[in-house]
Amino acid sequence: MLSAVALLAFGSTRTSDPQTQADRIDAITKVLACPTCQGESVYVSRASAAESIRAEVARQIAGGQRSDDEIIGYIEARFGSRVLLVPRSTGLDSLIWVLPVFALVCAVGTLGFAFRRWKVVGNDSISEEDAQLVERALREEQ
């Protein structure tokens, strides 16, 4: 338990920024979709368009002028938002992040409400008829 906590603390405080240029190229190309393939990242794909994008990312990193976000923005401005494998968290795209959490909260709330109701119903709802039936059965047993 203690070691798990220690590992977690180490993992969460460790800086996750890529250090070398190659790391930065990998990190950027992993979040860009190959525009001519289905569901493949630029990092994985060997398609010509993906190779071109990878070369452009490498060129811009070597140029040292732009941050990772700016390079991703440059590619997005050319190919449109369909090249983003991870949707943006602003504008209409943010619904992708918000809706599942909203749905989960609603579902848990509804389930909690339903369970409470079932419990109440179970305690109070023995009808007169049923009570008499049980009583009769118990009497017969004696």
């Binding site: 071109s52 070369a55 060129r59 590619i75 050319r78 190919f79 119903v121």
Partner: protein, 188 residues
């Protein structure tokens, strides 16, 4: 028991119809949504200054797009192994012939996309086409224009602004008609 049972009977159909309506709504969105095809000719670059293009031609001359201001420039992204590129070639040859006799002829350039010089030379010596072919080393020009798949044809106006993107194979007369419209709209 009978009371809660009847209230459940009242609520259940309402919940079921809401869920049903939601599902039908989702289905409606999916059915009526416009498919995002590659042939979508929209581009964030339309109406924007054309990206900087500095490269060399197959004749080993320098090519700088910014120096072409004053003329309409047509970029045709091309690969000699791509079937629609080969299919539209006769259309480009005819277009170039017609333009060469026009008052202010548009300059047509082939942008070589992921292809080697020898294949392109062989293709043009066999199929004709006297215009300049420019190299796209590492696909930098293709990425700058957002070209993922060839052929694509781009029109840049005399002030250096991107005016039209035609994704996919050119149909007969399409480029002439579109260029005439653009010239009327933005001045020749």
């Amino acid at each position: 028991m009978s009371e809660t049972g009847s209230s459940r009977k009242r609520v259940a159909p309402i919940i079921a119809s809401v869920v049903g309506a939601l599902l039908v709504g989702f289905l409606w969105v999916l059915v009526t949504a416009k498919p995002n095809t590659v042939d979508d000719a929209d581009s964030p670059l339309l109406g924007q200054p054309a990206p900087s293009v500095v490269t060399t031609t197959l004749n080993e001359e320098d090519f700088v797009l910014a120096r072409r201001k004053g003329s309409w420039v047509i970029f045709n992204f091309f690969n000699s192994t791509c079937v629609p590129c080969v299919a539209e070639h006769s259309e480009l040859v005819a277009f170039n012939e017609r333009e060469s006799t026009a008052a202010n002829p548009a300059e047509l350039y082939t942008v070589i996309n992921d292809d080697n010089d020898d294949s392109v030379r062989a293709f043009f010596s066999k199929n004709g086409g006297e215009w300049q072919k420019i190299r796209d080393t590492d696909g930098a020009i293709s990425v700058a224009f957002g070209v993922a798949k060839v052929p694509e044809t781009w029109v840049i106006d005399p002030n250096g602004y991107v005016r039209l993107r035609i994704a996919g194979q050119l149909t007969p007369g399409l480029l002439d008609d579109q260029l005439a419209l653009l010239k009327k709209q933005f001045g020749s």
